[in-house]
Symmetry: C2
Subunit: 116 residues, 2 copies
C-alpha cells in the first residue's frame, strides 16, 4: 500500500490534544469513534455507520474532522473508502486517553439520539 492510497492525515507527532478533544466533543463524532473502536476498517456509508438519519454530506463533514484531527485514517480503494481508528498512533501520543474515553463513552443509542 502506498501513501497515495490514504487521504491526508497529520503525522503522529503532529496530532494535537486540543484538536482531538474538539473533534470528539460532538455526539455524532463520538458515535463514529465508538463504531471504529473495534479496530476494523469501516465503509463510509451513513447506513453502515448507523447514521442514516443524517445527510451524507453531514456524515462526510464529521468524518473529515476526525481524519484531520488524527483520530482516523481513510484508505482509498478505487471508488471505495475505508475508515479506521488510529489507535496505535493515539495511544503513543496520548497514553491512556483512548482507553479512558472508550470506557466512559455513552451507549451508541444515546449518542445517536443526541445527534439526531
Amino acid at each position: 500500500m502506498t501513501d497515495d492510497e490514504r487521504l491526508p492525515q497529520p503525522p503522529t507527532a503532529d496530532i494535537d490534544l486540543v484538536t482531538v478533544l474538539h473533534a470528539l466533543g460532538d455526539p455524532v463524532r463520538m458515535r463514529l469513534l465508538l463504531s471504529y473502536a473495534d479496530g476494523a476498517e469501516h465503509s463510509c456509508g451513513p447506513r453502515d455507520l448507523g447514521l442514516d438519519h443524517l445527510h451524507k454530506s453531514t456524515v462526510s463533514h464529521h468524518m473529515r474532522v476526525l481524519r484531520e484531527a488524527g483520530v482516523t485514517s481513510t484508505r482509498v480503494a478505487g471508488r471505495n473508502r475505508f475508515v479506521s481508528l488510529r489507535r496505535t498512533d493515539l495511544d503513543a501520543r496520548f497514553p491512556g486517553l483512548l482507553d479512558a474515553l472508550l470506557a466512559s463513552a455513552p451507549r451508541p443509542a444515546a449518542v445517536a439520539a443526541a445527534g439526531a
Copy 2:
C-alpha cells in the same frame, strides 16, 4: 458552606462526556484546566490566570463553559469568585480520563499562544 454559595453546576451523575470534551477542545479552556490542575481555588481575574491578553468577558465565557460542563466549580464569597477543578467528580464519572489528559496536555505557554 451552603449550596447557595456556588454558581449552578451539573450534579456528578449528569456530567456528560461529550460536553466535557467539547469544553476542553479549546486552547484557552485547556489552559484553564492546566491552571486548575493543582487542586487549589483560583480567583477569576485574567491576570491571575495568565490570560491578560484576553478580554475579561472572553475569559468569563470560557469559565462558564467549563463550569456548565461540570469541569469546574465556582464558589462565591461576597464580591469574589473562586474556581476549582471538580477532580473527584470527574474521576468518579470518567476514571482515568483526567489523568490521561493532564499527562498529555501541551505546555501552558504553547496553549496560551494558540489562544492569543
